[in-house]
């Protein structure tokens, strides 16, 4: 049995934040769950996917976040408790349904989780999604810790049903990827079949109806504000004439600082866990008892703006600070010592920062950036594209996309010139090829192509653009931890009853006239085929098919056959300099291959001018 289905209220378990959230969903009786995977949210769905295979929970990996939310909206409006989760930038994709679903509302509880990523550990930006709550008018809940995250999921569902509105649930990486002790609660039984009561005059959002629904939304915001005022998750701790208002993980750092600086009699903390609508009266009362207040929040001055406005309205003139050159930045994540230092500074307390060892005489340590795995088929494709373009003397631009293959932008492959969001490779190719004279060759993974590459390709065909799109079909969503996508053979997951879409057929159906399939481990053949595709005027598509090496290994579909560098090697180092495979290393000026990492893809063996790289078994 899945450990998150353990029916033993009171039992303590050590859980990752994302596991705790999944457990929270189980305790809330969630019957329907949808997602598109994205770090730092991915383990929530991974657990629910597993649980769905041994229970009546319905779970799906949807094509993208917009689809996930629309699927969820229907389930929730049929009365089911529905959970929809995504990373912060996924909400941008889902923003269209989100804004109007806020007007329509829900019948069964709907919680939409946004996993924000301050510091961008694994994201392209660090946008603060609290503003989506303000923009849509929906309530927002924010936990500070792993155990609270579990507790707040059922709370958010109750809230959603009380207000008949979706509730936004915002985490940050340090909640998702922290681990803590959680006490299991009771599991509410799942109700897995609902009913949809037709009511077109409240559901079909033509202007006249939306005008009415907006009124309803504003009333709901008022109701939500009352609940926020009363919520035990907007609580005060400690007592004193100095005030700190904080949320999320900033609360942990502030609480620890108060203990460490011995301030429990001087400082009181207002922790905001129900952050939209902000509890105006609670905050005003809190400020009334303060001489000075400090707002501690990662990201944008979301709370600070509200706090200042409430103070102004109440005619309070105490100093309030937060984002400030001398205090807190909008950049990156916070840490305990930094928050401690700023609290001391703002309230004028003596403070000695931690004595970090002197690092001035530590030599520069070579960087260890992430790299495509040894034997990753993307490396072979990148090498071949580069060689083909070079042999044709084509100056190129390479829009790229989001996945493991983004790493191809680094030397020595250097295949990646422009990236803004999921799917942007295809549509930006349209722009670059019209606006410049260069040959545009762009890269997109299979999962990303399904997510948001298809519409760009439709545009390219319709508007008669001229570029080559390389679809890297490795049969899985690799980067986020090997989730399936619409092109995956679900037998690999020992699951049946799924459809499967062929990228080749799809691209053909869209009207692409020049389609080339390559097997990237066959270097010469691929380079020739690529050249032909690059010479085509119009939209040509190359589909590079080879299963993700890491995934193939985990499925035991790939048996490593390591290679070694024989003494035929003349030390040109083309292998290292052209392809940058991490299985290579240098030992006493000689090139070596680590037999443990080498899988035997034979890319290097095919490009070595001396044919010096040979399979280990022939070693004498």
């Amino acid at each position: 049995m899945h450990k998150l289905l353990t029916d033993d209220p009171g039992q303590k378990m050590l859980l990752l934040g994302n596991e705790a959230i999944a457990r929270g969903a189980i305790e809330a009786g969630v019957a329907f769950a949808t997602t598109y995977p994205g770090t730092p949210s991915s383990e929530i769905s991974l657990n629910l996917f597993e649980i769905s295979q041994e229970s009546d929970l319905y779970f799906e990996y949807s094509t993208n976040e917009k689809v996930a939310l629309e699927v969820a909206a229907a389930a929730a409006n049929s009365g089911l408790r529905t959970f929809c989760m995504m990373k912060h930038v996924g909400v941008n994709v889902a923003a269209d349904p989100l804004m109007t679903l806020a007007y329509v509302g829900v019948k069964g509880g709907l919680v939409i989780l946004t996993a924000d990523d301050p510091f961008m550990f694994s994201s392209q930006n660090e946008q603060d999604n609290r503003y989506y709550a303000k923009l849509s008018g929906l309530p927002m809940i924010e936990p500070s810790s792993v155990d609270e995250a579990k507790e707040l999921i059922p709370y958010a569902f109750d809230l959603s049903e009380k207000l008949q509105e979706p509730v936004l649930f915002r985490t940050t990486t340090r909640v998702n990827h922290s681990t803590g002790v959680v006490t299991l609660g009771k599991m509410r039984p799942r109700v897995t079949k609902g009913g949809f009561g037709k009511d077109p005059f409240n559901y079909v959002t033509v202007p006249a109806i939306s005008r009415k629904l907006h009124v309803k939304l504003l009333k709901n915001i008022e109701k939500a504000e009352e609940l926020s005022e009363k919520s035990e998750y907007n609580f005060t701790k400690g007592d004193g004439k100095w005030g700190i208002i904080c949320n999320g993980v900033s609360y942990n750092y502030a609480a620890d600082a108060v203990t460490e600086l011995n301030l429990s009699e001087k400082v009181k903390i207002l922790r905001i866990g129900f952050s939209h609508p902000m509890p105006k009266q609670k905050i005003t009362n809190f400020l009334k008892g303060c001489e000075k207040a400090l707002v501690i929040e990662e990201g944008e001055p979301y709370m600070e703006e509200a706090v200042r406005a409430f103070a102004q309205e109440a005619g309070l003139t105490l100093p309030i600070k937060g984002k400030d050159k001398e205090l807190f930045s909008q950049l990156y994540e916070f840490d305990p010592a930094m928050v401690r230092g700023k609290i001391a500074k703002y309230f004028g307390l003596p403070y000695t920062p931690p004595a970090v060892v002197n690092l001035s005489d530590v030599p520069e340590i070579p960087q260890r950036p992430p790299n495509l795995c040894a034997g990753c088929s993307h490396r072979a494709t990148f090498y071949e594209i580069r060689r083909a373009a070079k042999e044709l003397g084509m100056p190129t631009i390479h829009p790229t996309d989001i996945g493991c293959y983004t790493l191809g932008f680094m030397p020595p492959l250097s295949m990646g010139d422009f990236l803004i969001c999921m799917g942007s490779s295809v549509s930006t190719s349209c722009g670059f090829s019209k606006a410049t004279d260069k040959k545009v060759i762009s890269f997109i993974g299979d999962s990303t192509f399904f997510h948001s590459g298809i519409t760009g390709l439709v545009n390219a065909i319709y508007n008669n653009h001229n570029f080559t799109l390389v679809i890297l079909e490795n049969g899985i969503t690799a980067m986020t931890g090997h989730q399936p996508h619409p092109g995956v053979d679900m037998a690999n997951f020992s699951l049946s009853g799924y459809g499967r879409i062929s990228i080749e057929e799809l691209v053909k159906g869209l009207g692409v006239k020049h389609i080339t399939l390559i097997k990237p481990y066959r270097v010469e053949k691929s380079v020739e085929a690529i050249k032909e595709a690059l010479n085509y005027k119009g939209v040509s598509v190359i589909i590079s098919q080879e299963m993700c090496t890491l995934y193939a290994k985990s499925l035991k579909k790939l048996k490593a056959r390591p290679f070694y560098v024989s003494d035929k090697c003349k030390n040109h180092r083309d292998c290292i300099n052209e392809i940058g495979c991490p299985a290579f290393f240098i030992e006493g000026e000689k090139v070596r291959i680590d037999p443990v990492s080498c899988v035997g893809c034979m890319l290097c063996a095919q490009i070595c001018p001396e044919k010096a790289i040979l399979p280990v078994k022939s070693e004498k």
């Binding site: 792993v146 060892v357 960087q367």
Partner: protein, 197 residues
Amino acid sequence: MDITRLIIVAVGGQGNLLSSRVLGEAALLSGVPVRMSEIHGMAQRGGVVESAIVFGDAESTIISDGEADLLVGFEPSETLRALNKCNSKTVVITNLSPLPPFTVAIGKGKYPDLNKVQELIRAKTSKLIAFDAVALAKEAGNVLGVNMVLLGALAQTGILPLAVDNIKETISTRTKKAFAEVNLKAFDLGFAAAGIA
């Protein structure tokens, strides 16, 4: 309860997440409050994995620069890179078997001299325990047991608020059955090595 802060750094694939998991479970078993965090964005793609484990009465799950009581490095250059987490009172444990990053192979940087690495850490912190954990893992019967060897060394310092028996019990219940015996052996070898290092 007093707070003890531990940082573990490793290269993706070295199994440090399992070792922090074992420590967390052992803390739960011992009734010691514990909070941890990890950054493993692209660990599987050869990057660095860092875990922070905070024992005792704290709310934070991360550890600021200069605030680690203990630093355990699974790879010598990574131990050195994490020195910013240390202060003059920190106890450092490092494996001495290097895994040079790929950047060295392509001529972007030079791997630091191992003696120099130890000299620097020793001079700046209160104590350095350094040995070849890979050799001991092999001796125990599994090269991948580096994490268990280092757990043993960590337990030997006596700085963690955990009973050695509780850590061992967690290893036998929380690691795969087939490996439990080898893991315990690796743990013991690390424990002994730290005693003489």
